[in-house]
Subunit: 411 residues, 2 copies
């Protein structure tokens, strides 16, 4: 990999050779970060070259830590999800410009496909064809889908609270699924032990430094779709911390190679009921565990596994950390649906809820431009969607009943 120099520990700075199987720092246990040779990348990659390529996340090949094209493994069409200018929603929220990146439009309907597609390629480079992870749901279903498409096996650990939609995907993709009686922390721990014992490839994003590199492609795409004119802020929901770390890595990559000349500030959005990363940012304190009190299952992570990279991303960007209630998330789900035609799962709408909250709290100016990433499709969790959106009006099939309900204002 000419484009990759090494994998650097973000805690102690130790450099490791970027071989496919690396996980955390052998010296201090810190999380590794892939270090690129931007000078080389600048010499081989142009915006025009990117524009001419296949419509998947692999169009940014020179910015990814992979050996070569490996087309045989890139089965699912991950990435290049739509982006929408959302003036009606911007008006409701009271902000000059709002753009929605709908990453629920991916093969398994979440942003996590970007990391899982990368996991398949890196596992193959490591000579393995069985991949395992623990997940609140989306990482799991994306891993299962990407493994199925590539002919790989997957072992998946999900907490028992995982929504039906996500579990249905796992089972349909033929994953070997363990529903763990416990919270995300319990689930993560047992997956780590099992991966150690059985030698599976590790697709836990906080442990495997390559997965953040897959996730960062969402930023590369946003930049390209906005013709490299970056917004003032970029909002994203935060659970484990890996996604916001990926978002920031992508932005910095583009800045380093001169594709963009401005770095947006990050808006880190967590749930009030589970916000250990935002609390650490706002209180400038160490991470302490929290309960997982939110219906937004994808970001209900009481003991985040990648707080260091996430906190670094938020602070480096001079960003803000804002918490939202479940009611505010439900309101954002309705707003996204009714003004944009975008159906987001709770965690997927949390970013947009955070933008609204940040405007209300005057944490960001009303003349700002913001991109908000929807990280997962609302179909993943229809029970909570119905809770947020309400039930339909029942009628018998006759005009009398219909007119009566209309006149009553039932609808």
């Amino acid at each position: 990999m000419k484009q990759v120099i090494s994998a650097v520990c973000i805690l102690c700075g130790a450099e490791h050779e970027a071989v496919p199987g690396i996980t955390t720092c052998v010296k201090c246990g810190g999380i590794l970060d892939v270090k690129y040779d931007y000078k080389y990348i600048k010499s081989v990659l142009t915006k025009e070259k990117v524009a001419s390529r296949e419509r998947t996340m692999w169009r940014y090949l020179e910015l990814l830590p992979v050996e070569g094209r490996q087309d045989g493994l890139r089965k699912l069409s991950v990435g290049c999800s739509p982006i929408y200018n959302a003036p009606a929603l911007a008006e409701v929220i009271g902000i000059r410009s709002l753009t929605i990146k709908d990453d629920g439009i991916n093969p398994t309907s979440s942003l996590k496909d970007r990391a899982s597609a990368m996991a398949v390629v890196k596992a193959a480079e490591a000579g393995l064809s069985t991949i395992a992870c623990s997940s609140t749901g989306n990482a799991a279903s994306s891993l299962a889908g990407n493994c199925a498409a590539a002919g790989f096996h997957s072992y998946i650990f999900v907490p028992e609270r995982a929504p039906k939609g996500k579990v249905a995907q796992l089972m349909m993709f033929g994953a070997k699924v363990f529903l763990v009686k416990g919270n995300y922390e319990d689930t993560f721990r047992i997956s780590a032990e099992a991966i150690d014992r059985y030698g599976w490839y590790n697709r836990n994003a906080a442990i495997n430094p390559y997965l953040v590199e897959g996730k960062k492609t969402v930023s590369l795409e946003i930049a390209e779709q906005l013709e490299y004119k970056m917004p003032d802020y970029l909002a994203i929901s935060v659970g484990d911390g890996c996604t916001i770390a990926g978002v920031w890595k992508g932005l910095k990559d583009l800045y380093e190679i001169g594709f963009i000349d401005k770095l947006p500030k990050l808006i880190s959005v967590q749930s009030e009921g589970c916000c250990p990363i935002n609390r650490a940012v706002n209180e400038k304190s160490a991470i302490r565990p929290m309960e997982e009190n939110t219906f937004a299952d994808s970001i209900a992570v009481g003991v985040p596994r990648n707080p260091d990279k996430a906190i670094l991303a938020i602070t480096e960007s001079a960003g803000i950390a804002v918490n939202v209630s479940d009611e505010e998330i439900m309101a954002a789900m309705r707003l996204l649906g009714r003004t944009c035609g975008v159906f987001a799962e709770p965690a997927g709408a949390a970013g947009t809820a955070g933008v609204k909250k940040a405007v209300e709290l005057k944490l960001i100016p009303s003349d700002a431009s913001v991109v908000s990433v929807v990280t997962g499709n609302g179909l993943k969790d229809t029970a909570n969607a119905i809770k947020a959106a309400g039930e339909p009006v029942s009628i018998t099939p006759d005009m009398e009943c219909l007119c009566k309900r209309l006149n009553e204002g039932a609808i």
Copy 2:
């Protein structure tokens, strides 16, 4: 519209001016079909021009019955869904070549977005901004989503059996939803009466001749994605009959303008429990109503509203009509998930179940090439997905329990 000549009744041949508000033939009540000036289209459209355009269904502008670009109304990014070569699945099924077009990857997760996006544009041309339809679910949710994005209103009638996922979408998109206590036929009838009374724009695909023109873009895309080398067969599930009619229209369009030199034969797939169109084709008889005895809700249409166009499409293509059981559909769901990483709703997998059945019955030769269209995402109906795929294995979060379950062969 230079490209459109008229709207021709497929029963009596009467030509109507192709104004935006037309529905059925004023002379005989027959369904209309948009007639194009292929000579003109040939003179203005090239494959290169198509290739250079935006990645949505509107890239085929000259083949669509719209006045102009109307960018303001084309809010959602409909179309350009992925296509996958599926050698592993082809092997299981016992066919030389199988390609899966995953149209569940659309803004509201079904092929119906193609018709609903068209409905919004045609309603605007007709000077209306409220659109109504009856639907087994997907037409409804796509209409609701596309209306929300364009700032239009939608009134939707769904039968009470509609799956939760689809109803959740409707409510989230802010549609005014009537859950009709009755079957699809009852639902269709009450919607037609209400549309008449209230003057809403009619998005019932069998009544509105423009919607099939939206649906046909799936064929245009398949052809382009296969570099205009067409397969021997194209399989699709059939309910009302509009989608297969659209598929055939698109193929004929491309043939007429010389983009393809071969027309695939259609494989019309219905459920054994509800197959009025296939019965009429196979028995060369008139359409007779049937019960709606299938879990594949999207194709459970006992009284199809567009049998004429559908039957014409199947017979013109020298195609075949094959019925599948619910068990065969569930098996196809598992096969698509486990060999392709594609998660299909029951009706979405029916096409592929039909290919398998057609091979087994030797209705198509094993050296044939087939494209099968997945019409909707499995997340639309997770209850049935779980039924088809099974439940996960529960464990307590300790290695002892995990190893025990693994050794037991529980997984």
